[in-house]
C-alpha cells in the first residue's frame, strides 16, 4: 500500500475566464500526516482543498486521493470518496432550516447510520467542540464562532480518514482557536490525515509539523 494518501502531480487549475488559481503544483501527503496550508487571500488555498475533495477538477495534471485519480473517476464514485473526507468549508455551508443536531447528523444520514448510533456520535462531536449546550438551537441563534464550531463538529462526526479544514479558526478568538487546534492534534494522533489552511501563520507555530506556503497559486519558499 502506497504510504502517500494525497498526490498532486503538476496540477494547474484555471477557472472560467482564464483565472489561474493554481499553477503547476506537485506535492504528496502521507497517511496520518498533519499539513498546514498558508497564503494570502486569493493565493489558491481553498482551490487546493476543493481539488482534493473532488469539488473542483484539475485543468492540468493529476490529483490522486487514496489511490483514485479524481479526474478519471466518475461523479458517483467521487461522491463516495467525499464520504470519507471531513470538510470544514470556509463559508461554513450551514443549513439554517434545521437545528444544530440536525446539521451535524447529515454525514451520518448519508452513510446510513442507525438512529441510535447517530445520537451518540452527534453528542460526542458537539462535546468535542464545546457546543453540547446548543444541541437544539437554530444556527441563526449562534454567534459567529459557535457557527464555525458547528461546522467542525459536522466534519468530524463520521470520523473520516482525511480531515480538510479551510480556515477553521478564522472566526475564533485565541482561546477557542487553540482548543480547536488541540482537538485536531488529537485526531492527528489517532491517525487521521489532516490538511488545514490558514491566512494567519502566527497561531500555527506551536503545531506546525509541515507548512506549505502558497503565493499566487504557486509554492513559495
Amino acid at each position: 500500500m502506497d504510504s502517500r494518501i494525497i498526490i498532486f502531480d503538476q496540477v494547474s487549475k484555471i477557472y472560467p475566464e482564464n483565472i489561474t488559481a493554481i499553477q503547476n503544483i506537485s506535492l504528496s501527503i502521507d497517511r496520518g500526516e498533519l499539513v498546514f496550508l498558508a497564503g494570502h487571500s486569493g493565493a489558491g488555498k481553498s482551490t487546493v482543498l476543493k481539488l482534493i475533495a473532488g469539488i473542483e477538477t484539475a485543468t492540468h495534471g493529476s490529483v490522486i486521493v487514496n489511490g483514485f485519480e479524481l479526474s478519471q473517476t466518475k461523479l458517483n464514485h467521487r461522491t463516495f470518496i467525499r464520504q470519507h473526507i471531513g470538510f470544514i468549508f470556509q463559508d461554513h455551508k450551514i443549513l439554517f432550516d434545521r437545528n444544530v443536531f440536525d446539521n451535524v447528523r447529515l454525514p451520518l444520514d448519508i452513510l446510513g447510520y442507525s438512529e441510535h448510533l447517530i445520537k451518540a456520535r452527534v453528542a460526542h462531536a458537539l462535546e468535542s467542540v464545546g457546543l453540547e449546550h446548543k444541541t437544539h438551537v437554530m444556527p441563526e441563534q449562534l454567534s459567529g464562532g459557535e457557527q464555525q464550531r458547528l461546522c467542525i463538529a459536522r466534519a468530524i462526526v463520521h470520523q473520516p480518514k482525511i480531515l480538510i479544514a479551510d480556515e477553521p479558526t478564522a472566526n475564533l478568538d485565541r482561546d477557542n482557536a487553540l482548543r480547536i487546534l488541540e482537538l485536531f492534534k488529537n485526531f492527528h494522533k489517532a491517525g487521521v490525515t489532516m490538511l488545514i489552511s490558514a491566512h494567519d501563520e502566527s497561531i500555527l507555530n506551536d503545531y506546525a509539523k509541515r507548512i506549505i506556503r502558497l503565493k499566487q497559486g504557486q509554492f513559495k519558499g
Binding site: 461522491t79 463516495f80 470538510f87 455551508k93 432550516d97 454525514p107 444520514d109
Partner: protein, 305 residues
C-alpha cells in the same frame, strides 16, 4: 438493512415536512387534487355516457311500412332477414300490426278530434309497420341499411328521421371532441403543476441539496425524500380528488334525477371503481417519479457539484 432504513427515514422526513407546514402543502395538494378531480370527472362522464348511450334508445329508429297486401308469412320472412343483420347495426325490432297502429292513433289527443269518426276498425287505412331500433348513429351506415331494407320484398316505404340521426351523431362526436380536448388540456396542466411543484421544492431546498452533495450524498440519497414527498402529495391529492369526484357525482346525480324525463332513461354517473382508482394512482405516481427525476437532473446540472 441500510437501504430499508434510508427509505424509512425518507418517508418519515417527507411526512414531517408536510406536517410542519400544513398550509403551504395543503395549497399544493388542493390545486393538484382539483386538477385530478377535473380529469377524473371527465373520465367518469364519458364512461357513464357511453354506458347510457348503449343502454338507451338514442339511436334513430327505422320505420318499415309494409305494403297493404302483405300477409303474415311475408312479415315472418322479413323479420328473419332483418334479424340476420349485424348486431352493431341493429339492436332489435318491433312489429306493429295495422290494428295496434289504429289503437295508438285513437289515443292521440290531437288526432282524436279528426280520426274518431272517420277511421274505424273495418276501414283501417294504416299499413303494418316494423320498427327497427338501430345501434349506430353513423349516417353512412344508416343510409346503406335503409337502401338494403327498401329493396326487400313487400316493403312499401322505409323512413328514418335522418335529421335526428345526424343530430345524434353530431352530438356524440361533439361531446367526445370536447371531452378529449379538455382531457388533453388538463393532463398538460397536471404535468406542469407537478413538475413545477417539485422544481420549486428543490429550489427551496437547494442549499440542502448542494451541501449534501459536497459531503458525499449520492443522487439517490437526494432524490429519495423528494420522490416520497411528491408521491405523498400526489397520493393525498388523488384521495382528496376521489372524494371531490364522489361529491360531484352525488350532486350531479341528484340534479339528473330531477331531470330524469329529459333523458330517455335516468342518466346516472357511476364513480371510478377501486381498480380504476388504483390504476389512475399508479399512472400518476409513475409520472410523478419521472417528474422528480427530471427536476433533480435539472438542479444537479445547475448546481454542478
Amino acid at each position: 438493512m441500510k437501504l430499508i432504513n434510508a427509505h424509512y427515514r425518507s418517508i418519515i422526513t417527507s411526512i414531517t415536512r408536510i406536517l410542519n407546514k400544513p398550509f403551504e402543502h395543503m395549497l399544493n395538494i388542493l390545486v393538484i387534487s382539483i386538477i385530478i378531480a377535473i380529469l377524473s370527472s371527465i373520465f367518469v362522464i364519458t364512461k357513464s355516457s357511453r354506458i347510457w348511450e348503449t343502454s338507451n334508445i338514442n339511436y334513430p329508429q327505422i320505420m318499415i311500412y309494409l305494403s297493404q297486401n302483405a300477409k303474415q308469412s311475408d312479415v315472418s320472412k322479413l323479420e328473419v332477414s332483418i334479424s340476420k343483420f349485424n348486431q352493431k347495426l341493429i339492436r332489435n325490432y318491433q312489429f306493429i300490426s295495422k290494428q295496434q297502429g289504429l289503437q295508438e292513433l285513437q289515443q292521440d289527443q290531437q288526432l282524436q278530434m279528426i280520426s274518431s269518426d272517420v277511421i274505424t276498425e273495418s276501414s283501417n287505412p294504416l299499413p303494418d309497420v316494423l320498427i327497427v331500433n338501430t345501434n349506430t348513429a353513423n349516417p353512412k351506415l344508416l343510409s346503406q341499411l335503409i337502401e338494403r331494407i327498401g329493396n326487400m320484398n313487400m316493403v312499401d316505404n322505409v323512413q328514418m328521421d335522418t335529421n335526428y340521426a345526424n343530430k345524434i351523431n353530431d352530438l356524440i362526436n361533439f361531446i367526445k371532441y370536447i371531452a378529449t380536448f379538455l382531457q388533453i388540456v388538463f393532463v398538460i396542466v397536471f404535468i406542469l403543476v407537478v413538475y413545477n411543484m417539485i422544481r420549486l421544492q428543490m429550489l427551496l431546498r437547494q442549499d440542502e441539496i448542494i451541501v449534501s452533495r459536497l459531503i458525499g450524498a449520492s443522487d439517490s440519497f437526494i432524490m429519495r425524500p423528494l420522490a416520497y414527498y411528491a408521491i405523498l402529495q400526489v397520493t393525498l391529492a388523488s384521495l382528496l380528488a376521489y372524494f371531490l369526484v364522489n361529491w360531484f357525482i352525488n350532486f350531479m346525480n341528484g340534479l339528473f334525477s330531477n331531470l330524469k324525463y329529459l333523458f330517455g332513461n335516468s342518466f346516472l354517473l357511476t364513480n371510478l371503481t377501486s381498480l380504476q382508482l388504483g390504476q389512475m394512482l399508479v399512472i400518476l405516481i409513475i409520472f410523478t417519479i419521472f417528474s422528480v427525476f427530471l427536476a433533480v437532473q435539472w438542479v444537479f446540472k445547475h448546481a454542478h457539484a
